[in-house]
Each structure stands twice: as structure tokens, then as C-alpha cells.
């Protein structure tokens, strides 16, 4: 299902004589690129799209299922978010806009009661109307079925329906709840009838602009535009998502027009795409945060001075510059840049808290420390990811420069996820990890630094009642100004105490052929590729 306007097809090439044509193609594909093919702000072509076009999209991995009640992987969400409508969705930025709801939710003063109306003109792809009961089911069911999404809704005390109005009562004010309301809506009757003991595995019915035609895990997901879609009709009539995990193969498929859009550009292949004269890179910092974190539970790294010495031993700026850019950018706080900008946090001040590389000072601190033996080796664990491994290796090299050793272990995910939560210095003195979540500071500050999350989402076990107080107050407050002040007190503690060493945020990167029009790149990765939204409608020329 490639687009209809290929200038040169494989079959035509075979028929017209491969040898002669190949030389011309070779010359063409190695030609120079445009003036500035890298688009950093989003946007897209402005030419008139061909109505009813089709588009193939190369994604980095395959989804497994499209059940909104269970947690979907990001690769699954890339497909599923075209099939379903959500209660709310994100606008061009990270603010919410209604989709199945008619307007933004009304929230009680204490932040525990949320209410909104469900629109009456929304329909599922089987012709059934989207009812408030379907919406309530979509909110309640993750907890009822104890799925992985339960954590997003287990503060919900009750959901009541009155006509078209839904009222949700929470056990406590939960600042991030608005982002939980981006939940996709499923038809209760269909799902209850067709789900198996592991959830909904086939017969998916949504109310989004595209319906699923065929899904073969690992091969493709074919979508067709739904002719009776209740919202803005999409320009594209067919969309195919093709998982191509091997980056070189993904790039080749893109270059050959087998796919018109590809997700995730590895740093080493960036220049190749920049060299193409018929493609554009869309890049945007994602809502993510990658860091090195110390074991503050036991061992020498419980001492903030030791942590500062490690920070002094290497340059995080250089590490990110050498091993992450251009696929990511340096960050200086646990709150991702896109969120920090929206909240107007003093990120420059926070950047100043971190140390520049000073190996002599690092060595002096470690030499003088009574708990650090002369042959001390720091255990650094990293997950199976090249960028994070390089960060770990850079820290280790810094310690070597300071006269100490480091043992950098790259672990499989299963082993890693068990090990980084033990707090045992035999397992790690430091771990390198990342976090991505909704565009709210609470998701990052609470999950990564609250004492409740020790051994659950964070393995540093750092305890500071003042910090914990700020984080919990901010989480349970619905006053944005108050929350901002609390976070402005909390973040410097984390940075000054070197609980975490902020490292980088990844970029959402997409390469798009020029025949694709009106493509945009949203900072929330799984929202992409936005084919139809309030502000764009992707087509092909």
C-alpha cells in the first residue's frame, strides 16, 4: 500500500533494464540535499493533498494488541490512537481539548470531583452511539480488571452517569488526573462480548477516523478511513503501519518509497536523511527525562560529597554531545524541557547548580573520604540501550581519570528492572534510567523522588522529609501557582543533593517524504503520527 505517485518503481525498473537505470538512480540518490531539511518546529507541506491517498508508515517496533483497557505499548498506540477517540486529547501543545467530551472538565475546588458532558453525535465504527456508559466503562475497567493501566485510575472512588453528564469522584485530589482523561473510549457491549481471559485481542471497534482492516503482528496494521466518521474527515483513505526494527532497513525502505514516513532516526543515520533531497526530518524534544541516579540507601554513595565527586569526575555535557545528539538534547532538571517551559520554571538557575568537570577536585574528595578505599570500584548498571550505556561508560571513565575504578554492567531489561530497586550496593552504586509520562511535573517528581516510590519506581531510596512534603503537597493541590512554588523548592534539593544527575531528553523524530502534506510532530510521542487533529490533516500529493 505505497502511495500512488512513485516516480520510479521496482517493477518498472526491472522491466526497463536494471543496469542502465541503476546508474541514474545511484547518481540521484547520492545527490545533495536541500538547504535545511531539518524541521525543528513541526509544520508540513502546504501543497494540496490528493484526496483519498494512501500512506505507509515505518515504525520501529510492532504493537501486540489494541485494547485500551490494558496498557498498550507505544508502538501499539501509534496505530490505536487513529482507531479510537479519547475523552480528551492534546491540542497543538500539551493543553487538553475535548474529543468525546463536549468541553473541558469542571473540577471542584478541592480537586476531587470532575465532571463533563459526553457529546451526542459521536458513533462507534459499528454504528452504535458512544454513550456515557461506554465512557464510564473505559475509566472503571482498568481497575476492575486490574490491568497495567489501573495505576492511572485507582484513585477514582466512583463514576456516576446522569443523562449525558459524567461525574467522577476521586479519593484524593490528583493533579495528573486530567491526563488520565486522555483515555481511549471502547464500546462496552462489544468488548464485553468479544474479550478473552487476557483482554480484548480482536474485533476492535473504535470511534476514531480510521478503522482497522487487518493486523498481523510484526508485519503490518492496515487502516482505512471510516466513511461515517463523526468528526473531521481524514484526507487519507488508507494507512499502513509497517514495523521495521532494523534501522538501516527502515531507512532503505524510506529511501525506496516503500514507506513515506519513518519513526525514530538513530544518530548515525541522521546525516543520510539530511542528505536526501526529497525528505524532511521532524524533530521535537519529547516529554522524557534520562538520568544517572545514585544508591542513597547503602554504601559510599549515601554521602552527598561522594555523589558530588562523581559528578565532578566527568562532563555530562560532553557525554550527551558525543553519544546522544542529535537524537536527544541535554537537560538540567528532572522536569522535561517542554513541561518546564510551559510552567516557566527557572531552568537556567537549576542548570547552574550542576558541576563542571573537575577531576582534581573529584579525586581530592574521594581520596580524603574515609569510606572509600584506594581500589574502590563503583558499580554502575545500565539497561540494554546504547545511549544509556555510553552515559554509564563516560561516568566510569571519569572515575578512572580520578584514580578509581568503575564496573559498568549492561543488563537485560528483566534483570535490570529487578536489580535497580534493591538498594544494595553490591548490585549498584549508580544506575542510568529514564522516565516518560504525561506533561505534568508531578508525574516526574512523584514517581522519581517521593519516598512512597522507593523500591517501586526509584532505586535511590533518598529520604528527605522536606522534599517529600513539597512533592506530596504539590501532587494533591489543584492550584497551579501553589504547585509551581512547591516544585521550585523541591527541584533544587534534588539537584544540590545529587540524588539524580540529569542527562538528556530524547527527541521525537520522524522522517517524512515531501509528497506527504501537513505532517506535524507532537511532543508527546505516542500521540504521533497525528493524521487528523484540530489543526492538521495529513494527505499525499
Amino acid at each position: 500500500m505505497a502511495h500512488d505517485n512513485k516516480p520510479l518503481t521496482r517493477r518498472r525498473l526491472l522491466r526497463t533494464g536494471a543496469g542502465i537505470t541503476a546508474a541514474g538512480v545511484l547518481a540521484g540518490c547520492t545527490g545533495g540535499g536541500g538547504d535545511d531539511p531539518t524541521d525543528t518546529s513541526g509544520g508540513g507541506g502546504t501543497a494540496t493533498p490528493q484526496p483519498g491517498g494512501s500512506l505507509s508508515i515505518g515504525q520501529a517496533k510492532s504493537g501486540v494488541h489494541f485494547d485500551p483497557i490494558r496498557q498498550m505499548s507505544v508502538p501499539a498506540l501509534l496505530v490505536a490512537n487513529r482507531m479510537y477517540s479519547s475523552i480528551y486529547t492534546y491540542g497543538e501543545g500539551t493543553d487538553l481539548e475535548p474529543q468525546i467530551a463536549t468541553e473541558l472538565p469542571e473540577v471542584s475546588d478541592d480537586g476531587t470531583r470532575w465532571s463533563f458532558d459526553v457529546r451526542e453525535d459521536a458513533y462507534f465504527q459499528n454504528g452504535d452511539q458512544v454513550t456515557p456508559e461506554d465512557v464510564a466503562y473505559s475509566i472503571e475497567q482498568p481497575v476492575v480488571e486490574e490491568t497495567q493501566l489501573a495505576a492511572d485510575f485507582n484513585m477514582v472512588n466512583s463514576v456516576s452517569v446522569d443523562g449525558q453528564t459524567i461525574t467522577i469522584d476521586l479519593d484524593f485530589p490528583y493533579a495528573v488526573f486530567q491526563h488520565s482523561l486522555t483515555q481511549n473510549v471502547v464500546p462496552k457491549s462489544v468488548r464485553e462480548e468479544t474479550k478473552t481471559d487476557v483482554g480484548w485481542t480482536e474485533g476492535y471497534v473504535g470511534s476514531g477516523p480510521f478503522e482497522l482492516v487487518e493486523f498481523r503482528e510484526g508485519e503490518h496494521a492496515q487502516l482505512a478511513s471510516w466513511s461515517d466518521y463523526w468528526g473531521k474527515a481524514p484526507n487519507l483513505s488508507e494507512v499502513e503501519f509497517v514495523p521495521i526494527p532494523e534501522p538501516t532497513t527502515r531507512l532503505t525502505s524510506f529511501q525506496n518509497d516503500e514507506v513515506g514516513v519513518i519513526q525514530d532516526i538513530p544518530p548515525k543515520l541522521w546525516g543520510t536523511i539530511e542528505g536526501m533531497n526529497d525528505a524532511t526530518i521532524f524533530e521535537r524534544p519529547a516529554i522524557s527525562y534520562f538520568y544517572g541516579s545514585f544508591n542513597c540507601n547503602e554504601g559510599p554513595t549515601t554521602d552527598p560529597e561522594v555523589r558530588r565527586a562523581v559528578d565532578l569526575a566527568f562532563s555530562m555535557d560532553d557525554a550527551v554531545s558525543n553519544f546522544v545528539e542529535p537524537a536527544g538534547v541535554r537537560v538540567n532538571s528532572p522536569i522535561p524541557a517542554a513541561v518546564a517551559d510551559t510552567w516557566d520554571f527557572p531552568t537556567d538557575e537549576w542548570a547552574d547548580i550542576q558541576s563542571d568537570k573537575n577531576v582534581d577536585e573529584a579525586k581530592a574528595i574521594l581520596d580524603d573520604h574515609e569510606e572509600i578505599p584506594a581500589d574502590w570500584e563503583m558499580n554502575i548498571i545500565v539497561p540494554p540501550d546504547n545511549k544509556r550505556e555510553q552515559i554509564g561508560v563516560t561516568i566510569g571513565n571519569g572515575l578512572n581519570e580520578a584514580g578509581y575504578g568503575a564496573n559498568v554492567q549492561r543488563l537485560d531489561w528483566g534483570t535490570y528492572l529487578e536489580k535497580f530497586l534493591t538498594g544494595d550496593p553490591n548490585d549498584y552504586h549508580m544506575y542510568v534510567l529514564g522516565w516518560s509520562g504525561p506533561p505534568d511535573p508531578s508525574d516526574f517528581m512523584y514517581n522519581l523522588f517521593a519516598q512512597d516510590m522507593a523500591g517501586v519506581n526509584q532505586g535511590h531510596f533518598y529520604e528527605n522529609d522536606e522534599l517529600d512534603g513539597y512533592i506530596n503537597q504539590a501532587r494533591e493541590s489543584s492550584d497551579r501557582e501553589e504547585r509551581k512554588e512547591l516544585y521550585e523548592k523541591a527541584v533544587p534539593i534534588v539537584l544540590e543533593e545529587r540524588v539524580n544527575l540529569p542527562s538528556y531528553t530524547l527527541k521525537n523524530t520522524w522522517a517524512v517524504k515531501d509528497y506527504v502534506t501537513d505532517f506535524t510532530n507532537h511532543p508527546i510521542g505516542y500521540i504521533n503520527p497525528r493524521l487528523v487533529s484540530s489543526y492538521n490533516n495529513v494527505g499525499v500529493q
Partner: protein
């Protein structure tokens, strides 16, 4: 021979049981938690425990082992943790693709290696022999993923002659194949998709078979009965075709049988490079997610393939060499 075949099949049961036991113990000895991988770091501990119980992973290892074997005897290979589907279903989905790839790569390897080996032996120390030996050396020493990437870069990226991804089955419905309107189109498209993965996977086999074919032919050509035939003035072509070639095939058959294991391993890399959704990628997914039932299922399946390959190889001896009669040995 039928009795022998049945006996070998029965003998293979303890072998497969051994594979199952060792694999089960090994994957359970590796640190890590498939449920943690599935739910991610955000999940809370009670949820992780609930899901672990759902998959029976909260039971002691010996209980799980006995349960697994009991289910296996009844034909139940369990349910994949990652996919949430029966392991047998996932294998059935992926198997045809890998079988097609294996058949095509072996066809390519045998069709090129046997003539090259024979000619190389016949023209010993002449140009064809040197060329064959160099090709053989390159073939056995070059990683298959590198060959695959080079083929993609040359024939897909630069020349744009062949598709870089996927494998179309020759019997696919034309309406599901891009640009195909009938069965002939599907077949042509299938061949186009198959060429590069076949060469990638078949090169190592080709090199190994060619080297054995050459040395085996050289050995046979030095036998007394060949010298005698030459002394009688029998033409060299007749000697090669009637007297030497067939007798030189036993070592070749052995190496072909052993190459099944190598090919299965190579299919993992080939399928990854060419984005082919076969057994190789299924194994990678299983391992990456520590999906115990799927790892067990795919390992056992590969074990079965290997055992069958060895038995077929042994039985082929009798077909090639009439002196080998297994029933008399029994």
C-alpha cells in the same frame, strides 16, 4: 529401514525431554522477571504479583516444571506472556515463513555448492579451483548480517532493484499483495522478496557444502577403482558422473544435515535484517521479553527440527549408498 526410523524417533524423545529440562532450568536461573518487563517500571508491586500469579509464575520451580511437562504431553505449549496467545498459535503463524526461507536457502546452497565443488576438484589448482576456494573462504568467514546489509545497501538502497523488507508467500492472495493482480504477479513478487534473504542465509551453507564436496571428490578421485577406470580408458566425464560423484555424496549429506542448525541460527539474523516475520524474530522477541513459555516452545521446536534433520540425514545414507542397510544392522 522403517523399523530403524521408528526406533530413532522413539530415541529422540529423551533427547527432547533433555532439551526441555535444560532450557527450563536455564531460563529460570537467569535473573529477571518477565512480568516486570511486560508491565514496565511504572506498575505497582501488587499488580505485578497479581499478574505473576495469573501466569503461574508464583509457584515453586518444580511445580511449574511438572505442570509444564504435563501440559506439553497433552499438546499444550502454554500461553505466551508477551503476546497473550497460545505458543503453538504463534509458532504456526511464523513457521511457514521460516520454512520457505530455509528451503530456498538450502536450494540455493546445494545448487551452487555441488557443481562448484565438483569443478573445483576436477580442475584442482587451476583457476576455477582458486576462485571456488576463495569464495568458500569468504563465505564461511563473513557474518550473514553483514552480507545482508551489504545486499540491501547495494540492491535496495543504491540500485533499487530488490525490496529490502518482508517476505511474500508465493501462494498469497493477490488482493493482499501490493501491485499484484494475479497468481503470477504474486509469484514474481515473492521471488523478488526472496532473493536477498536467500543469498544471505545460504552463503554460509553454500561455502561449507562446497568445501566438503571438493575434498570428498578429491578423495574419491584418488581411489584405486577410479585409477583403474582411467587405466581402462573410461572417459573422465563418465568417471565423474557414474563412479565418483555418487560415492562422494555421503560427507556432503552429513554436512547438509548439520547445516540445519547453522541455518536456524542464521535465520534469526536474516529475519531481523530483512524484517521478515518468522521464527527467528519470534525467538528474539521471546528472549528480549523473557517470555518463558515462548522460549520453551521455540527452543523445543528448533530441537525437533534438528532431530528430524539428523534422522533424515541418516536415512539418506541408505538411499545414496546401497551398502548401508539399517535393518540388517538392527
Amino acid at each position: 529401514m522403517a523399523r530403524y526410523a521408528v526406533r530413532r524417533l522413539v530415541q529422540s524423545i529423551p533427547v527432547l525431554l533433555g532439551i526441555a529440562t535444560i532450557t527450563f532450568l536455564l531460563i529460570n536461573a537467569i535473573p529477571g522477571d518477565p512480568i516486570r518487563i511486560m508491565v514496565g517500571p511504572n506498575a505497582d508491586a501488587s499488580m505485578v504479583e497479581a499478574i505473576r500469579a495469573q501466569y503461574g509464575l508464583d509457584e515453586p520451580i518444580h511445580i511449574r516444571y511438572v505442570t509444564y511437562l504435563g501440559n506439553l504431553i497433552q499438546g499444550d505449549m502454554g500461553r505466551s506472556i508477551h503476546f497473550g496467545q497460545p505458543v503453538s498459535q504463534k509458532i504456526a503463524e511464523r513457521l511457514p515463513v521460516t520454512l520457505l526461507l530455509l528451503v530456498s536457502s538450502f536450494t540455493f546452497a546445494i545448487a551452487t555448492a555441488v557443481p562448484m565443488g565438483v569443478i573445483s576438484a576436477q580442475k584442482r589448482n587451476e583457476l576455477p579451483d582458486h576462485v571456488s576456494r576463495i569464495l568458500g573462504l569468504i563465505g564461511v568467514s563473513t557474518p550473514s548480517f553483514w552480507i545482508g546489509l551489504m545486499l540491501i545497501i547495494i540492491f535496495s538502497y543504491h540500485i533499487q532493484l530488490l525490496p529490502a523488507t518482508n517476505l511474500i508467500m508465493p501462494w498469497a492472495d493477490p488482493s493482499t499483495v501490493d501491485g499484484a493482480s494475479n497468481a503470477v504477479d504474486v509469484f514474481v513478487t515473492s521471488i523478488e522478496h526472496l532473493i536477498m534473504p536467500t543469498i544471505t542465509l545460504g552463503t554460509l551453507q553454500m561455502a561449507a557444502i562446497m568445501r566438503v564436496q571438493r575434498s570428498s571428490m578429491l578423495e574419491v578421485l584418488q581411489q584405486e577403482y577410479v585409477q583403474l577406470a582411467r587405466a581402462y580408458g573410461v572417459r573422465e566425464r563418465t568417471i565423474l558422473r557414474k563412479h565418483a560423484f555418487r560415492n562422494a555424496q555421503l560427507p556432503v549429506i552429513t554436512i547438509v544435515g548439520l547445516q540445519i542448525t547453522t541455518a536456524l541460527g542464521g535465520s534469526v539474523l536474516t529475519e531481523t535484517v530483512f524484517n521478515i516475520n518468522g521464527m527467528g524474530r519470534l525467538i528474539i522477541t521471546a528472549i528480549n521479553n523473557q517470555d518463558y513459555p515462548l522460549i520453551m516452545g521455540t527452543t523445543l521446536f528448533f530441537g525437533v527440527m534438528f532431530v528430524i534433520g539428523v534422522i533424515v540425514t541418516d536415512l539418506s545414507y541408505a538411499y545414496i549408498d546401497p551398502r548401508v542397510t539399517y535393518d540388517e544392522v538392527d
